[in-house]
Symmetry: C2
Subunit: 321 residues, 2 copies
Amino acid sequence: MRSAAGVPDLVRQARDGSPRAVARLISMVEDVSPRLREVMAKLAPHSGNAWVIGLTGSPGVGKSTSTSALVKALRARDLRVGVLAIDPSSPFSGGALLGDRIRMQDHALDPGVYIRSMASRGHLGGLSWATPQALRVLDAAGCDVVLVETVGVGQSEVEVAGLADTTVVLLAPGMGDGIQAAKAGILEIGDVFVVNKADRDGADATVKDLRNMISLAERRQPGDWRQPVVKTVAARGEGVEELMEALDKHRAWLAESGELRRRRLRRAADEVETIAVTTLRERIGDLRHGRGLDELAERVVAGDLDPYTAADRLVDAVSSA
Amino acid sequence: MRSAAGVPDLVRQARDGSPRAVARLISMVEDVSPRLREVMAKLAPHSGNAWVIGLTGSPGVGKSTSTSALVKALRARDLRVGVLAIDPSSPFSGGALLGDRIRMQDHALDPGVYIRSMASRGHLGGLSWATPQALRVLDAAGCDVVLVETVGVGQSEVEVAGLADTTVVLLAPGMGDGIQAAKAGILEIGDVFVVNKADRDGADATVKDLRNMISLAERRQPGDWRQPVVKTVAARGEGVEELMEALDKHRAWLAESGELRRRRLRRAADEVETIAVTTLRERIGDLRHGRGLDELAERVVAGDLDPYTAADRLVDAVSSA
């Protein structure tokens, strides 16, 4: 039975640790619920606590396994963990566990872990629109850490870096990933690099390639972050402790350097801008369906208004809407 | 030597038939000149006379040759003709004659013909932003007919249909175009179909395929337009008279049915909307570079403003800009 709870109740339940309330709030984000505005207003005072870690990499590098290993390590510290698995290729949304999320079921019964899959190809610009708001839900619900996992395809890896405090780029030996990394601009977005499946042939060569590229690419100032490369075999838990150490160091650096605040300000500015542009586009759409734009078009066709002056009037109408 | 003429002078010179003045006005469109607004205001009272014919088709069907043959036929009627050749793949703009425009040089010395190549991949949404304004220049400069030629690749063929009063879709025998036509939705956008290079094997089969597809696709009401299929060998001028007849019939139908007015209203509405959205985006960009958005982002990060309320304030700031 679906509860008919109002937004304040849902937010209180989510903060009390109800996975069902968290699920409903994230569904409201995905469905662009008319009550989303109320949800975000109630969440705002409780946000800014979670450490957001983005994980990205090509298919097959072991992202799910690595995420699962990190969840385990974070739970050993008794931290509450949220996982957002973004599927940039799926047009379908929903909170169902995906096939490759099977390993996550290790944590399915743990009340300290909340796992959610999201499709990014939604109505309103995907990752950039819905993900920050889903992060707000998990943050306000008391997650100490939120892991955002996405396949490194096209723009999504750059987007995930824009959403995260710390971005982990995963590679695997023998996939030509080193060269791909340079091409795709992964060097710029990664705060921590992981060569997973490090028991395979070529792992050391991949690590070496990567370190070379990092030292070639960097123009470091004193106090800048030095991107580490960590070897893991996530499926056996090997190297996960070293990865956690690297992550902790990055978090400490973020706080000391002021970079955490800069990243969060940039993220908030992006989020606000995206919502504002969406609002303005919707208002123009409303005017189009109404009569406002038709009347302007008639005057343009008649030649008694030029298109710029007509656009000014449309902007004025949008502004006073 | 470049004349330092003001906008009113340029517009008057363009209307008096100066190709140089027309060229400068179209360059102002391509360069998004700050004086564009003044240009469009001066042009507005003189617009709406030109018959805009769009020509589209895959590479190799003979678009340039067909355009050239149409220019010749229109000049024989003593009509002033403008040609806009849109290159959707080129990131470069400019008024230079392209390599495949060589045939157009037949008309290069004819003062009754104005030919211009434009790149559509400009800053602001390409075809949909710059082309309507270039059309306005040619229209106000006294062109009786403007031919807009574009390669049928991706969305550009649909866009050209949105810009034209009459859309001509060109095909050639043996290119599998019939099936492509159905796939690409060309059947919906074409007012007149041309099978060019009709002296080649398979021309009749292509015509037959096309006619079949047209009769299958149509749900015609009394008074609706029946899309004709014309065979041409444009390089030898064969079939061009029949093509002109089909175009004349379509023009007459446009006027009688009220469709001309409907199409022009829709086109003006699209143009006004595009300019308005661009204006709003620029204003948001200005706020981003200024301090407005930063202050909102700080309050969002601090948790005393939710992103929707912050976006509302951004929209208000944009609206009163």
